[in-house]
């Protein structure tokens, strides 16, 4: 488990770093797909099979594709060899983000008590349980999410198509 975690973590970090560092946008997107799959692996490690599947279905199968589409539709076919990689004042951004990690997240995490024992060893959550929970106590939330998705879908269609009407 330990090994698997470190491998996955390494892949995830690598993917993420590559995603923000690579000049070629398509490559960047592919590396973020790598990051997504590593995260799916981590989910499996954490016994959240279903979430892993959803991760693959949604992120790799849909969001990634969507990004690729967006790239294909916006820049030239081969991807945009951007003149400059980083935006104006990038140093500020880097500095601030790093500061956030160091000043905010790391101290908070290190201060907290480390938990290692999992209650999940004697309980294997099945998809059925998840579904029942989703449909019974959280039915309203599911409805809201469904509405949101529909609204998002329509909004996306409108946003993407209305401009073409110009």
């Amino acid at each position: 488990m330990t090994v698997a975690f470190y491998i996955m973590a390494a892949i995830a970090v690598l993917g993420a770093v590559m995603a923000i560092a690579l000049r070629n946008v398509v490559h960047a997107v592919f590396s973020v797909l790598l990051f997504f799959s590593a995260l799916a692996g981590l989910f499996i490690l954490l016994l959240a099979e279903f979430i892993a599947v959803v991760q693959v279905l949604v992120y790799i199968g849909s969001v990634g594709i969507l990004m690729l589409f967006a790239i294909m539709l916006t820049t030239k076919v081969t991807g945009d060899p951007t003149r400059k990689l980083l935006s104006r004042g990038w140093a500020w951004g880097g500095l601030v983000s790093g500061a956030l990690l160091l000043a905010f997240l790391v101290p908070l995490i290190t201060q907290s008590k480390s938990e290692s024992n999992s209650q999940l060893s004697n309980f294997n959550p099945s998809v059925k349980d998840l579904g029942l929970t989703l449909m019974d106590p959280y039915f309203a939330s599911v409805g809201v999410i469904a509405l949101l998705l529909t609204a998002g879908l329509i909004a996306a269609v409108v946003a993407a198509s209305s401009a073409s009407g110009e």
């Binding site: 935006s87 104006r88 004042g89 951004g93 601030v96 500061a99 956030l100 000043a103 905010f104 908070l108």
Partner: protein
């Protein structure tokens, strides 16, 4: 209020006006064809007639009995405004007369109007009229009486102006409405005063009604309220003004001859038999008030006397067959007033019967005369000028005989109905006041004279008009015959004659004076004789000068021009009215100029504020100055708000970092 209770209360009397109302609404809303309309209206009125006859039967023999049925119309501030119906002899007889004559005239109109494509509308108006008239008769509240009175006025307006395409008809309708309205305002004041003085509008209300003894006594107790009269007299005076307007008495008589512009059945029904008699009926109804101040009775009698003489004189100078009858009506109405006034002076309560009896007989023979005239006009191809008629008798036997029956009744030929009623009036006048008697007698003589003149013009000689003369249809002649029978035969109830008088007034009436009887014989026969003497042999026609005119040219011209009454009003009242209106219009124009001036001033003040104060002070110093200062200070903010997305994000993150640091610092 139980409308369907026909036995123990008189609430069912309400159905008498409601029946034609239903017919009228039905005709107005559904607009059926002319034939159906006529049928509906006649059927409704027939029901009313049956109910009226029931009412008549209930009162006959119970003359002193007064039955009422009252209900609340409005409730205000703890006070009830009540309406009601009353059933006494006055109601019963009048109802019977009105609905009977009404029905006959409805039937007559069916034929008379059959060529008019607005026949349905005509019957609708007629039904509305019957609503008003019957309602007025049964009303137990002065206010309700007034309301129906106005409805009658409306119906009269609509019917006079029935052929509104004719400008003269429209003008006559308006004139009729407005002239009677002048009288109505008097009536209104009278009833308001009555309300103020008694606190009720009810005529009879178990002893507390206006006409009942306690109230009358209270009203009569106050002395010298107005012109030396007591309150009852004052109220009566104003009510009498209403009666003057409606019954075409002297100052306000001008509308009635003009009203002949309407269809002939209308003239017969409204402007001869019923509506114009409503004024007389009002006086009869409110008679206790009149009796309470004898001065008021004299006023009534004098007004009546002047009117009857005036109208009889004018009638002599007219050529239009309907106009002659119209002036005759005015004259007879005056005579009824004389009857009421003088009768009141002579017989106290019995005065009612004197006037009312003539009203009833007059209704029959005058309706007959109008309908006959209508038939003759119809037969003479819608010609109304008597000079263009002549020789009608031989062509239209039935109509002519009926017409002649009416004529002799009107002339008070002995033992006809007119004779008895007129005789009673002259008798009362003889008792009451000499001058009034003589004026009435002269007027009666003139009546006989002008009726004879008219008959000579119409029936004798050769036909002088265009086309052929033809007899009218049976539907028209049958009512004529029935009315003729009534006109003559009402006289043959002579043994019941005093019964009728007793019945009408509720008190025992008996008067006899041989001289008067002789005088009235002389008047009737003398008038007819004089007329025949002058006109029977004379050459008559449109080109010929009237025989009387040959003798008295100047006075006759005055008569021809109706004694210049219209011209007089034109020159006085109308002018005054116009001058007032012009004066106020001018004043208003001046005020409008002032308004414009004010507007200009305000606008100038406004522009002063705009140009001087706003621009200088507000804009340059305070508001704009502040704004530009704020604008300048925003240059720094502008650096941050640069629209660069990541810039915002970075600031956001910086903020988070700051919070983190603060958290760390403060949690330690």
């Amino acid at each position: 209020m139980n409308l369907f209770n026909f036995t123990d209360s008189v609430g069912w009397l309400m159905w008498v006006p409601i029946c034609p109302l239903i017919a009228g609404v039905f005709l107005a809303l559904l607009k059926p064809s002319g034939r159906v309309s006529a049928f509906v209206a006649i059927a409704a009125l027939a029901v009313s007639l049956i109910l009226s006859l029931k009412a008549f039967a209930m009162t006959w023999g119970h003359e002193a009995q007064i039955e009422t049925h009252n209900f609340t119309w409005m409730h205000i501030g703890g006070v009830d405004l009540e309406f009601g119906m009353v059933l006494n002899a006055l109601t019963g007889s009048m109802l019977a007369m009105v609905s009977l004559i009404g029905l006959l005239i409805f039937i007559y109109s069916w034929s008379y109007m059959s060529h008019d494509d607005r026949m349905g509308r005509f019957f609708c108006y007629l039904s509305i009229f019957m609503v008003g008239m019957l309602g007025l008769v049964v009303a137990n509240s002065l206010l309700l009486f007034f309301m129906f009175w106005e409805i009658v006025g409306l119906a009269s307006y609509l019917l006079i102006g029935f052929w509104f395409q004719k400008p003269s008809a429209a003008a006559a309708a308006k004139k009729a409405f407005i002239t009677t309205r002048i009288g109505d305002l008097g009536f209104l004041i009278g009833l308001l005063w009555a309300f103020k003085a008694t606190g009720t509008f009810l005529l009879f209300d178990n002893g507390s009604g206006i006409l009942e003894t306690t109230q009358i006594a209270a009203l009569a107790a106050s002395e010298n309220v107005m012109f030396g009269m007591n309150t009852a007299g004052a109220i009566a005076l104003f009510l009498f003004i209403g009666a003057i307007g409606k019954s075409g008495q002297l100052p306000l008589h001008v509308w009635l001859p003009d009203a002949m512009e309407g269809p002939t059945p209308v003239s017969a029904l409204i402007h001869a038999a019923t509506m114009v008699a409503a004024g007389v009926f009002l006086v009869a109804r409110a008679f206790p008030l009149f009796i309470a101040d004898l001065a008021m009775l004299e006023v009534v009698a004098w007004f009546g006397a002047f009117t009857t003489l005036f109208a009889a004189l004018v009638a002599v100078g007219q050529y239009d067959i309907k106009r002659i009858l119209a002036y005759s009506t005015v004259s007879q109405l005056g005579l009824m007033m004389v009857g009421l006034g003088a009768g009141g002076l002579a017989l106290k309560e019995g005065g009612i019967s004197i006037g009312m009896f003539h009203l009833l007989t007059h209704a029959f023979f005058k309706a007959l005369l109008f309908l006959g005239a209508g038939s003759i006009i119809h037969g003479c191809n819608d010609e109304q000028d008597v000079r263009l008629m002549g020789g009608v008798f031989s062509k239209m036997k039935i109509s002519s005989i009926a017409y002649l029956a009416g004529t002799i009744a009107l002339c008070a030929f002995p033992f006809t109905s007119g004779y008895f009623s007129k005789d009673q009036i002259l008798l009362s006048a003889w008792t009451a006041s000499g001058p009034i008697f003589w004026i009435s007698a002269i007027a009666s003589l003139l009546t006989a004279f002008y009726m004879t003149r008219q008959c000579c013009y119409v029936f004798l000689g050769k036909y002088r008009g265009k086309g052929h003369v033809h007899e009218s249809s049976p539907i028209m002649t049958v009512p004529l015959v029935i009315l003729a029978v009534f006109a003559v035969a009402l006289g043959y109830v002579s043994e019941h004659f005093y019964h009728i008088l007793d019945y009408l007034s509720g008190v025992h009436v008996h008067q006899h004076e041989s001289i008067v009887v002789i005088i009235s014989w002389i008047i009737a026969l003398g008038g007819i004789g004089l007329g025949l003497l002058v006109y029977a042999r004379a050459k008559l026609g449109i080109d010929e000068t009237d025989p009387v005119k040959k003798v008295f040219p100047v006075p006759y011209r005055w008569l021809e021009n109706r004694l210049y009454a219209d011209e007089f009003y034109e020159a006085t009242a109308f002018k005054l009215w116009d001058v007032l209106a012009i004066l106020i219009t001018v004043l208003e124009a001046i005020m409008n100029q002032l308004v414009d001036f004010v507007t200009v001033v305000v606008r100038n003040i406004g522009s002063f504020f705009l140009n001087t104060i706003d621009k200088r002070v507000i804009d340059e110093v305070s508001f704009d100055g502040t704004c530009s200062r704020i604008y300048n200070s925003s240059q720094i903010n502008k650096l941050i708000q640069n629209g660069f997305l990541q810039g915002y994000l970075r600031l956001l993150t910086g903020g988070a970092v700051l919070i983190g640091i603060l958290l760390i610092v403060f949690t330690r």
